[in-house]
C-alpha cells in the first residue's frame, strides 16, 4: 500500500486491518459522516486495506458540500451589494452558485473577505459602522458554538450593522434520514469525533437502538478510523447495536456543556435543505426569534428565494452512497477541483475532491484496463 507506507503508524494500521478482515464473516457496509475522516480514508486507502470485509460509504460529512444551492445564491446576492462586506470561511469562496461563486463576485467589485473566526467578522462590523457586515454561518456542530457566540456578542455589544446568513446543519437527523430511506444500505456508522467533542453522544443512542445500527464515535487519524471500523464490525458480528466511543482521548458523553448551552440559547432546530439530499426535517439550526434582528435573510429580504439543483452534478447520489465519485460521468471530465460542478469537488473534505486528488480515477482506470486484458481469478 503505497499511501500507507508514508504513515508512521503503518504497522499498527495493518494489524488492525487484519483483525477487521478476520472478524468479518461477510461484507459489512459502514458510513463515515466526517469530511476529515473521508479525506484520511481515501488518502491512505484504508477502505482498500480491509479488502472485502467492509465497504465504506462516504456520507454527507462535509458542511461545504451539503450547503444547498439556494443558500449559496443568497450569499452571492448579499455579497454583490455595494453597502455590504461579506465575510466567510475560506472554503465557501469557490462553491458554485447558480451563476457564479463568491470569488467571482469579489472580482466584479463585491467586498468579500475570508475570516478565520466569526468574531473577526464582528470586529469588522465594529470597525466599519457605515457598512453592513454579513457572516456566512455554515458548518456542523463544530462551528455552531463559535457562530452562536458571535451573534450573542453582537446583541450584547449592540452592533446594528452585523448579521449572519445561517446555513447550519446537524449530523444526527441526516443519519436518521439515510437510515429511513427504503434503499438504505448502511449497517453501521463512524460518528465524527470532533462533532461529538462538542455535542457528546447521547443523541446517537436512540438512533442506534431504533435502527439497530452500531455507531462508533471515531477520531480522524488513520489508526482511529481503522479501530473504529473494527469496533463497528465486532458489534455487527455479535449482533450488538450500541454507541461506542473510540475517541476517548477527546470525547465525553456529555460533550462540552457550556458550548452546547449557548448553541441552544441562540439557535433552534429548523427544517433544512441538504444539497443533493433535499429537505430533512429539523436537521438545521436557525436563529431563535429573539435574535431575528441579526438574521441576514430577513434584513435583506431573501427568505423566499428557492433554487433547483443542477441535474448534471450527482452530488446527492455520492453523499447517499449510491454512487462512488468516479462513477459520475462528470467526474474528472466536466467537473474538476479547478472547475467544480458541485461542492464535493470544491472542498478538500469533499469525497469527489479526495478521490480526484489522490488519484482514485487513475487507479480505477488501470483496474479496468487490467480486467479487460486478463481475467483475475476470484
Amino acid at each position: 500500500m503505497k499511501y500507507l507506507d508514508e504513515y508512521r503508524d503503518a504497522s499498527i494500521v495493518r494489524a488492525l486491518a487484519e483483525r477487521v478482515r478476520q472478524a468479518a464473516t461477510r461484507r459489512w457496509v459502514l458510513m463515515e459522516v466526517c469530511g476529515g475522516q473521508t479525506h484520511t480514508i481515501v488518502k491512505q486507502g484504508l477502505d482498500e486495506l480491509v479488502g472485502d470485509a467492509v465497504e465504506m460509504i462516504h456520507g454527507p460529512g462535509c458542511p461545504v458540500c451539503v450547503t444547498p444551492l439556494e443558500q449559496i445564491d443568497k450569499a452571492l446576492h448579499i455579497a454583490a451589494r455595494p453597502d455590504v462586506i461579506f465575510t466567510s470561511f475560506g472554503d465557501m469562496l469557490r462553491v458554485p452558485g447558480s451563476e457564479c461563486d463568491l470569488q467571482q463576485v469579489r472580482a466584479r467589485g463585491g467586498t468579500v473577505r475570508v475570516v478565520y473566526s466569526p468574531l473577526d467578522a464582528l470586529q469588522l462590523a465594529i470597525r466599519n459602522p457605515d457598512k453592513q457586515v454579513v457572516f456566512f454561518a455554515v458548518g456542523f456542530e463544530t462551528t455552531a458554538p463559535a457562530n452562536a457566540m458571535a451573534v450573542w456578542r453582537a446583541r450584547e455589544l449592540r452592533i446594528p450593522n452585523f448579521s449572519v446568513l445561517v446555513s447550519h446543519v446537524t449530523v444526527p437527523p441526516a443519519m436518521t434520514a439515510l437510515l429511513s430511506a427504503p434503499d438504505n444500505r448502511v449497517q453501521g456508522f463512524l460518528a465524527a469525533g470532533h462533532v461529538c467533542t462538542v455535542m457528546g453522544w447521547s443523541e446517537y443512542e436512540p438512533i442506534a437502538a431504533q435502527y439497530r445500527v452500531p455507531i462508533v464515535v471515531t477520531g480522524f487519524e488513520t489508526v482511529d478510523i481503522m479501530e473504529g471500523m473494527l469496533m463497528a464490525v465486532e458489534q455487527l458480528e455479535s449482533g450488538r447495536f450500541e454507541v461506542e466511543n473510540q475517541y476517548v482521548r477527546s470525547v465525553k458523553r456529555e460533550g462540552t456543556v457550556p458550548a452546547r448551552t449557548l448553541v441552544s440559547e441562540v439557535f433552534e432546530l429548523v427544517d433544512r435543505k441538504w444539497r443533493g439530499i433535499g429537505e430533512i426535517p429539523r436537521s438545521g439550526l436557525g436563529l431563535r426569534p429573539e435574535f431575528a434582528d441579526f438574521d441576514a435573510e430577513l434584513r435583506f429580504g431573501l427568505s423566499d428565494l428557492s433554487v433547483a439543483e443542477p441535474a448534471e452534478c450527482r452530488a446527492g447520489d455520492v453523499l447517499r452512497g449510491k454512487l462512488k465519485p468516479f462513477e459520475c460521468p462528470a467526474f474528472g471530465v466536466s467537473c474538476t477541483p479547478e472547475r467544480p460542478l458541485g461542492a464535493p469537488m470544491v472542498s478538500s473534505e469533499g469525497a469527489c475532491a479526495a478521490y480526484f486528488n489522490y488519484g482514485r480515477l487513475r487507479r480505477r482506470e488501470k483496474e479496468r484496463e487490467g480486467s479487460m486484458t486478463a481475467e483475475v481469478p476470484s
Binding site: 475570516v115 478565520y116 463544530t142 482521548r249 486528488n357
Partner: protein, 107 residues
C-alpha cells in the same frame, strides 16, 4: 472547518466579559475565545480550537499528534484564513505566518 486545530495557550485575558486568550498554533499566534473551557484551562495548557474557539482541553502529546496528522492531511487551511485576517489587525500576530508551498495545497 470540521477539524479543530490544537494550540497552546500563551496568555489569557478578559475582553469586556468574554474570556479570551492568545493561542500558539505551531508558531502562529492569534487571539481565541476561551469562554467554553474557561474553568478548565490556564496558560501552558493545550486546547483544540475550532474557528477561533477553544472547545476542549487536550494533553500535550495528543496536541502534537493531532497537529502532525492535520499537517499530513493538508488540513491546516485555517492557518491561511488567519493570514487573510492578519492585515485587518484583528489577530494578535506575534510571529510571521509560514508561506504555504503549492505541494501542500490540496484543492
Amino acid at each position: 472547518m470540521c477539524l479543530g486545530i490544537p494550540g497552546r495557550i500563551i496568555e489569557r485575558h478578559d475582553d469586556g466579559g468574554l474570556a479570551m486568550g492568545v493561542v500558539d498554533f505551531g508558531g502562529v499566534r492569534r487571539s481565541c475565545c476561551l469562554a467554553y473551557v474557561a474553568k478548565d484551562v490556564e496558560p501552558g495548557d493545550y486546547v483544540i480550537v475550532h474557528v477561533g474557539f477553544a472547545i476542549s482541553k487536550v494533553q500535550e502529546e495528543e496536541a502534537r499528534r493531532t497537529y502532525e496528522a492535520l499537517r499530513e492531511l493538508s488540513q491546516l487551511d485555517e492557518l491561511d484564513w488567519m493570514r487573510e485576517t492578519a492585515d485587518l489587525g484583528l489577530a494578535e500576530m506575534r510571529s510571521p505566518l509560514p508561506t504555504r508551498t503549492p505541494a501542500e495545497d490540496v484543492t
